[in-house]
């Protein structure tokens, strides 16, 4: 069902421009990696706090508020550069299991981050939630984002 769509992307001028350029993929990939370190820091800082590590003297709400703009900013860069990387080789992605693992993890991670994790860590809400639930939320978040990262790295090893 998706294959014809992916094939039409592969046939586009943008796809050809990136995949035939000797440096475009490398440069986009580098920006993708730079944003990875920022999003990693923003996600980890809050998840560590939920687990009771890191910036423990600040409330969960304070850490969440500080991390939020960096999370959103780096996520936008990740999505944009990621889209360009995908456009350069959609057929390879279509047949790559790690790609689908990554996309599934990404959808779940974003859904979880902007619904459950967002609401619980906003303002004073966390003070009314039992610590075991805060820890569970942190572990789910770490697991989902790890799936995104590991899946992403593995696309390069396959095919």
């Amino acid at each position: 069902m998706l294959l014809p769509f992916f094939q039409s992307i592969e046939a586009s001028a943008l796809s050809k421009a990136i995949s035939t350029s000797s440096w475009a993929f490398a440069v986009i990939e580098s920006v993708h990696l730079l944003a990875l370190s920022v999003i990693g820091g923003a996600v980890l800082m809050l998840d560590l706090r939920l687990l009771g590590f890191g910036l423990r003297r600040q409330t969960v709400g304070e850490v969440a508020r500080e991390a939020q703009p960096w999370l959103i900013g780096s996520l936008i860069v990740m999505l944009l550069t990621g889209a360009f990387l995908f456009v350069s080789e959609p057929i390879k992605c279509y047949y790559s299991t790690p790609f689908w693992v990554k996309m599934t993890s990404l959808a779940l991670a974003m859904l979880f981050t902007f619904t459950v994790r967002w609401r619980v860590t906003r303002g004073e809400t966390a003070t009314r939630v039992r610590p075991i639930w805060l820890k569970t939320i942190a572990l789910v978040s770490l697991l989902l984002w790890f799936g995104v990262g590991a899946g992403g790295r593995w696309i390069g090893f396959s095919g």
Binding site: S37, G54, L55, E62
Partner: protein
């Protein structure tokens, strides 16, 4: 002095060949190396942004260093060990790769920058750590760290490309910088 003979010897060891030819170990080591970016550089970036006065402005600098430094150090150890293993798997090509050489120089500079910061302006963090915008020396340390780690990440990624490898007959300047030798 050239380290090429050492690298050639390293490449001939059994462990190096095994790691280089392994189906899963090499990708696993590389994945751990890349994903640990999130822990080490991720925390480091947060500290640097705090030093620049653009993130965590309400958190005292001393608390950011106290609470995040153990995580940075743990992440750094993992990055360093996996990085050594990656070099161990492919010693000669890495040694004669300009990106690898720039990366090593930048690593040394990043270490020096961190040392200067901790031995210098950070000693008096109690005097300025509560301020939203740290003093000039601290801001400079944060900016230098951000620049150097970005350079290290980009160079690290570029090592994978063979554009300037010795067998690609690079220009004289690159040939010299990569330490290529005529056979």
């Amino acid at each position: 002095m050239s380290l090429l003979p050492f690298c050639e010897w390293l490449a001939s060891t059994r462990g190096s060949i095994a790691l280089h030819e392994s189906l899963y170990m090499y990708p696993i080591v590389e994945s751990v190396h890349v994903l640990t970016l999130c822990i080490f550089v991720g925390m480091s970036v947060m500290l640097d942004l705090r030093l620049l006065g653009v993130a965590l402005r309400r958190v005292p600098v001393s608390e950011v260093t106290d609470r995040l430094l153990p995580w940075m150090l743990a992440g750094f150890v993992v990055m360093f060990v996996t990085g050594l293993l990656l070099f161990y798997a492919i010693p000669i090509r890495s040694y004669q790769n300009v990106f690898f050489r720039i990366k090593v120089i930048a690593l040394v500079l990043a270490g020096a920058n961190a040392w200067i910061f901790h031995a210098g302006v950070h000693k008096h963090v109690a005097e300025w750590g509560l301020g939203r915008t740290p003093p000039r020396k601290a801001r400079l340390a944060g900016a230098a760290s951000l620049f150097l780690w970005a350079l290290i990440i980009v160079c690290g990624r570029m090592i994978a490309y063979n554009w300037f490898d010795c067998d690609m007959k690079p220009r004289p300047l690159i040939k010299w910088a990569a330490g290529c030798v005529d056979k």
